[in-house]
Amino acid sequence: MKRLSRPGEGEILLLTASRLLDGRIVWLGEGDHWHESITGAIRFTYEDAGPALERALAEAGQKEVVSVYEVVARDTQPPEPVTTREAIRAHGPSVHPDFSYDHAPVREKESAL
């Protein structure tokens, strides 16, 4: 297993994936459910994240997600990914914030479920 990213001062780890059905970004939340919003993501310490990631990878097929990995985020409310890449995944393309899932028309939200 690859080495986890190590969070710095005031940072935590989140687990993220893409939903198999539609590729939508999801975040591991309470009860091992994958949530659409980063606000529902569980915050892991470096020590806790490893076993959680292993479990999430093992259950990825059953939970219908792909490409599971950890993301370093600032421990804020809601957590904010540290890198630009993960911020763009969490909030949508910077050139089209209106394209983000949060801003998508209702019919698109429904079709993605």
């Binding site: 893409s18 539609d22 490409s67 089209h96």
Partner: protein, 560 residues
């Protein structure tokens, strides 16, 4: 439901067997998607299958890349692409540097249905990804340009048919890109393809100059001439032999050394040529012979435009130009001479300064399709520089086209000018990118958006990529920008002196990378230096050669 093909000009007209093949292929992929969603197929098994059907998993969703063979669409196809963008995407499509279109917000479960909708208009997404022969690209002015020696589309179609689902070349060491032009001016970047073909007429039929081993990406290489004059009858046999040598000896142990350019560099051009000739000697070349009858059969499935223009068409155009300076400026930058005196090729810029290069909305797609039906035989071409072309516009109707484009917000008079920026989607969409490219393209477009300033600067290209894979072809821009990740921060390297044409050259790296806004200012200083120091009629590349990279470097970094 399969609809009968219209007799639109520009591309090969499908036969019934082509449509049957597409349906069979969709049925196959539909089964693969079903098995993936049921868990019967794992992601590792499914990934190569989806890629062969143009489906990527990107940052926000699945991305579907639809093939536009040699960049030619008809109006019903463009209407269909608009419908797909409206129904399954976010009302946008993005034209790429491979003359394809991408949809960025596709759900996997919808892909088989989308493919069926595409098949209704004889379109597909086959071989737009994966380690196979990709969409064959060609000259955007094919069959229309005044300077053309030979229409390359017929042979582009023959190569497309040969390469589609070729049983030997479905699992190559790496992807393989072929471009073909029939003009003395290389408008397809032939020397930057795995194989580049420059066609010309010969005494006894067409001849093809064949370049091999060119490419951009991590290791940019200018392709080298393998053969000067491949005869038409030997074209497919020669391509087959080149691909066989590559398939046999190309590296499969290292992703970054797997392209044919590395093989040619490693063993040398002479050894590679010998290997190809030996392969040709072993092959049953008669089985691959391209006969005049076969070529004629393919040619017959291309409809030709009925080019009739009023005798005073050119005079009418001149009157319109005199009456409207803005139109005259657009004509100066956005048209290309046509073989027929009464017609002209019109380039539609998808680079309105400040907008995203290559993006079109649903409304624009429908509007363009309608305009093409009225004014260019229902034909639309996609360029590898992310613009569109109406190939055959009557000169007396050009003003009407321009007014229609203005209404669609697509009348930017900047083709070949500094705001005609080529850019990949970058980190805003792409899983591989290190940095965003689109915001920088927007800022540069806005900075140089003034029409008078652009006219003063003249021909100057900016190409931009968000990572070393170089989908934005940054190595061949006069000014190239490459997004790099520097300890988590997006920064941009500047390259100068690239050229994709006859004087093929790879841009030289100026120095350490800049932060985004610093990069915009540095480019502005470079352009200002060019304006101040150039000699009469001197191009950017010529001045760079005269003054040297160091002089530009001093200017670019002077306040950093």
């Amino acid at each position: 439901m399969t609809q009968p093909a219209s007799r639109s000009v520009g591309h090969y007209q499908y036969e019934e067997r082509d449509r049957v093949f597409l349906q069979e292929r969709i049925n196959e992929f539909e089964g693969q998607v079903r098995r993936r969603l049921s868990g019967e197929l794992g992601e590792e098994e499914f990934k190569p299958l989806r890629l062969m059907n143009g489906v990527y998993l990107q940052l926000h969703a699945y991305m579907l890349r639809v093939a536009i063979p040699y960049g030619v669409l008809d109006s019903r196809q463009l209407h269909k692409l608009a419908d797909i963008a409206a129904k399954y995407d976010r009302n946008y499509g993005h034209f790429t540097t491979r003359q394809n279109i991408q949809f960025n917000w596709i759900a996997l479960k919808d892909v088989p249905t989308i493919l069926r909708e595409l098949a209704e208009v004889d379109m597909h997404a086959i071989q737009t990804s994966g380690n196979c022969i990709r969409n064959v690209t060609s000259d955007e002015f094919a069959g229309a340009a005044k300077d053309e020696l030979m229409d390359p589309r017929i042979h582009a179609e023959i190569v497309r048919q040969w390469s589609t689902l070729h049983p030997e070349f479905t699992f190559l060491p790496r992807k393989f890109k072929i471009a073909i032009s029939g003009s003395p001016e290389d408008r397809v970047a032939a020397r930057f393809h795995d194989i580049g073909l420059l066609a010309r007429p010969g005494e006894n039929g067409p001849l093809f100059r064949l370049f091999v081993g060119g490419g951009l990406g991590r290791t940019p290489v200018v392709g080298r001439e393998l053969f000067d004059s491949v005869k038409e009858e030997d074209l497919i046999a020669t391509l087959e032999a080149v691909l066989r040598v590559y398939n046999a000896f190309g590296r499969r142990d290292n992703l970054y050394k797997a392209r044919i350019k590395i093989l040619v560099q490693t063993i040398g051009l002479e050894a590679f040529r010998t290997a190809v000739e030996e392969e040709l000697g072993r092959m049953d070349c008669a089985a691959y012979r391209l006969t005049p009858e076969h070529v004629a059969q393919i040619r017959a499935r291309f409809a030709l435009p009925d080019l009739k223009a009023p005798a005073d068409a050119a005079d009418v155009l001149e009157q319109h130009k005199k009456a409207d300076p803005a139109f005259a400026r657009w004509v100066a930058s956005n048209t290309h001479p046509h073989q027929d005196e009464g017609h002209v090729c019109a380039v539609i810029s998808l680079k309105t300064p400040g907008d995203i290069p290559g993006d079109v909305t649903v409304e624009q797609m429908h509007g363009l399709a309608d305009l093409s039906e009225r004014l260019s035989f229902g034909e639309v071409r996609v360029t590898h520089l992310q613009n569109l072309v109406f190939g055959h516009v009557r000169k007396d109707q050009l003003h009407e086209l321009w007014q229609g484009l203005k209404a669609l917000g697509l009348a930017a008079p900047n083709v070949g000018l500094i705001s005609d920026i080529v850019s990949c989607p970058g980190l805003d969409y792409c899983n591989l990118a290190n940095a965003r490219s689109l915001p920088l393209a927007q800022k540069l477009g806005a900075r140089f958006g003034d029409a008078a300033l652009q006219a003063e600067i003249g021909t100057l290209s900016i190409h931009m990529s968000g990572c070393i894979n170089a989908c934005g072809h940054h190595h061949v821009g006069n000014i190239g920008l490459l997004g790099v990740d520097k300890r988590g921060a997006e920064t941009y390297q500047i390259l100068l002196g690239g050229d994709a044409g006859e004087q093929a050259a790879i841009g030289g790296i100026l120095g350490p990378s800049f932060a985004e806004d610093e990069a915009v200012d540095a480019v502005a200083r470079i352009v200002e230096f060019y304006l101040g120091q150039r000699q009469k009629g001197e191009t950017f590349s010529a001045m760079l050669k005269r003054c040297g990279l160091k002089a530009f470097k001093e200017v670019a970094y002077e306040t950093v």
